[in-house]
Symmetry: C2
């Protein structure tokens, strides 16, 4: 008997029939006495199609016009969803990002929400209406249409849930929740009933695509409980919240893989203070998000410096490095796209230093070479050859007994 | 060196290549030193496609949601057009109906413009930008998205031209202008260099589809000069304005046909005062736009009463008549869809009573039966069998010598 925010992704509203199914699900939740606010993405591949059109006209379209263009997609899905609810006899009303009071900064195509003025939504809820809101979009302080970048609809949903003090923010996708590993790789991967914000953040940053990183950050900051679930079943999914019940507090929670990054190694770098700073300030100026950085112990006053970045930034990164090679007195550099990152995540690992050793030996036993290592207090990531990644995920999932469902088999396998 | 408003219809922006051509035309007009405001429709059949989607979900979609849905179409075309201009190195910015200050009443799907607050457009023009505006849409006094109904983009363009005191409002379509007859029917139909608002209104109401009736009304009220022309050539089209130069003041200007109407005849109606009022107030309550009404001289105290209405309203009209047949004591009624309306229009005919007689005899000479007649001071319309309409148009076009180009052959043929 509170406010429920639901978010449906593009796959869930990809066609008229699916929109009708979503409308039925919404009506069902509303019939339980909840006030409903529903955030929708554009239908199916609609946004991708618009991006394609834009690029047929301009290699680098102006960001303001790009946002104007892309914001059309959610208008279509949200109006159709409101019509479907109206057709079922439910009173529904759709709001654009602007009408919903999603105020953003002026960073077109990747705007940040600065405030949510939800008066209009609140009035509509008070009038007994189901409110449908366009995900992914807002209005800037300059009164221009903005979009929130990749995963923006998740962020819209979480921001509205925070502003409206909703009981829960349900994020509907085409998967059943968060798993101990990608079920396409690991057949017996297990759906997690709950994970902490911290774990979800590490997983999102390590390649698990279920929830957008920014929406999880937003949820943690504002204490919004996210329920990540499938729009194709009635099964409960995965709840993301601050603290997870004791019964689930395993040593490790999940393993994930990321094949979206590439690596550059700068060879024969003079081991002097300021060299790394020089390289990475030049890279940063190119707005490239460097992920892992490893510097070997120096040998004869020279060292190697290796870092990873998104594959699409490899060419620009290489150009930046090439420009400074002679300036810093390095011997050369090489680029490598055939890498993948394997990550093991778990809140329980904070207090157990043995997890890393166990992970490294499992990989070594199967002849998988580790090229880079990076850790946080609840994550260990290793870069391996991309051809080894699926095997590595299976090995680690098995070694840490992640398939054992704790609720069904209390002893577990881990 | 003033403000030029241009409007491009769906055919002109139907694809990426056409959008680029339109951008070049805009840039050319801008290069002549004009401030440019460009109104665009949705791409090609985009609006029709959206209407179809809506009807797959709901037979009678809520009008507010319909407007939200349909307004997506112009966002796409206008953003792409702005991108195309930016790509050519021109500074362009797109505005939604709301951002352009098109304020309407709350009659969703057929809203009327109540005010144009063009401050934002004026600021953008002052900053040297080419302004692209979404046609067909506005924002209501309740802050909801509205659309202006059929031909709404023409109305947007004329309203902006009036508000900005533009030199001219150029309406680009896929035809070269206004012709003396439909060139698909009459091969030697002649393009008119100019017509008066009054003539254009009569022509629009008589089936000539070049300009939307409401936009011409708006232009007349505000004295906006419309230049109706093709986006596929550089030729001048037809100018619509208050007074037309003497050289063009022919007796008649154009002939048009309308096959969109149907007819109902109520038989054996008692010839008593109040009967016609009863019938047409019931029809009006159904929101059916009756066009022509003819009542025969009574015979034995009974008369026939015939009227026409849009074909799509025939069934509802029939239902309304059926309900009152016995109440008014009529003998019965019949419906007929196989009719067509032939109209002859000309400002010169005001002072020449011989035109009607000439028209009737021309039709009679060719054995074409006239079923109804209606006239205004500058128009004569006859209802004929639909199978006769194309022949009738050719006969009347020929009889009044409309093909003779007055500027090339001053004697003319009329």
């Amino acid at each position: 008997m509170g406010i429920v925010v639901q978010k449906y992704g593009g796959t869930s509203v990809a066609g008229v029939e699916r929109i009708k199914v979503v409308a039925e699900r919404i009506a069902k939740t509303a019939a339980q006495g909840n006030d409903m606010v529903v955030v929708v993405s554009a239908m199916g591949k609609a946004t991708d199609d618009l991006v394609k059109l834009a690029h047929e006209i301009s290699a680098v379209p102006h960001a303001r016009e790009m946002d104007m263009l892309l914001s059309a997609g959610e208008r279509i899905s949200m109006a159709l969803l409101a019509m479907a609810l109206n057709e079922m006899g439910r009173d529904a009303i759709s709001f654009t990002g602007s009408q919903a009071g999603i105020l953003t900064d002026t960073s077109h195509t990747k705007a940040r929400i600065v405030e949510v003025k939800a008066h209009r939504i609140e009035r509509a809820l008070a009038a007994g209406k189901i409110v449908i809101v366009a995900g992914f979009q807002g209005v800037s302080t300059e009164l221009d249409v903005t979009t929130l970048g990749r995963g923006g609809s998740d962020t819209t949903a979480v921001a509205l849930a925070a502003a409206l003090k909703a009981d829960v923010c349900e994020i509907y996708t085409d998967v059943k929740g968060v798993f101990t590993a990608d079920p396409r790789i690991v057949r017996n991967a297990r759906k997690l009933n709950s994970v902490t914000y911290e774990e979800m953040l590490e997983m999102a940053a390590s390649g698990a695509g279920v929830l957008a990183l920014r929406s999880v950050e937003f949820a943690r900051t504002h204490g919004v409980v996210i329920h990540c679930r499938s729009s194709f079943t009635d099964e409960a999914g995965t709840v993301v919240k601050e603290e997870v019940e004791q019964v689930e507090k395993a040593l490790v929670t999940a393993v994930s893989q990321d094949t979206s990054e590439a690596m550059i190694r700068v060879d024969g770098v003079p081991d002097r203070p300021g060299i790394a700073a020089k390289i990475f300030s030049d890279i940063a100026r190119e707005r490239i998000n460097v992920d892992m950085i490893v510097q070997n112990v120096s040998h004869d006053g020279k060292t190697d410096l290796t870092f990873t970045m998104p594959k699409e930034d490899l060419i620009r990164s290489g150009d930046a490095v090439r420009r400074i090679i002679s300036e810093i007195g390095a011997e050369g550099f090489s680029a490598d796209s055939d890498i993948a990152k394997l990550s093991l995540i778990g809140a329980g690992m904070k207090t157990d230093p043995g997890v890393a050793a166990e992970m490294f030996s499992a990989l070594a036993e199967h002849g998988i070479n580790i090229e880079m290592i990076s850790t946080s207090s609840i994550r260990i990531s290793c870069v391996v050859r991309s051809m080894d990644i699926n095997r590595a995920v299976k090995i680690i999932h098995e070694r840490f007994g992640l398939a054992g469902a704790p609720s069904m088999s209390p002893a577990g396998r881990g």
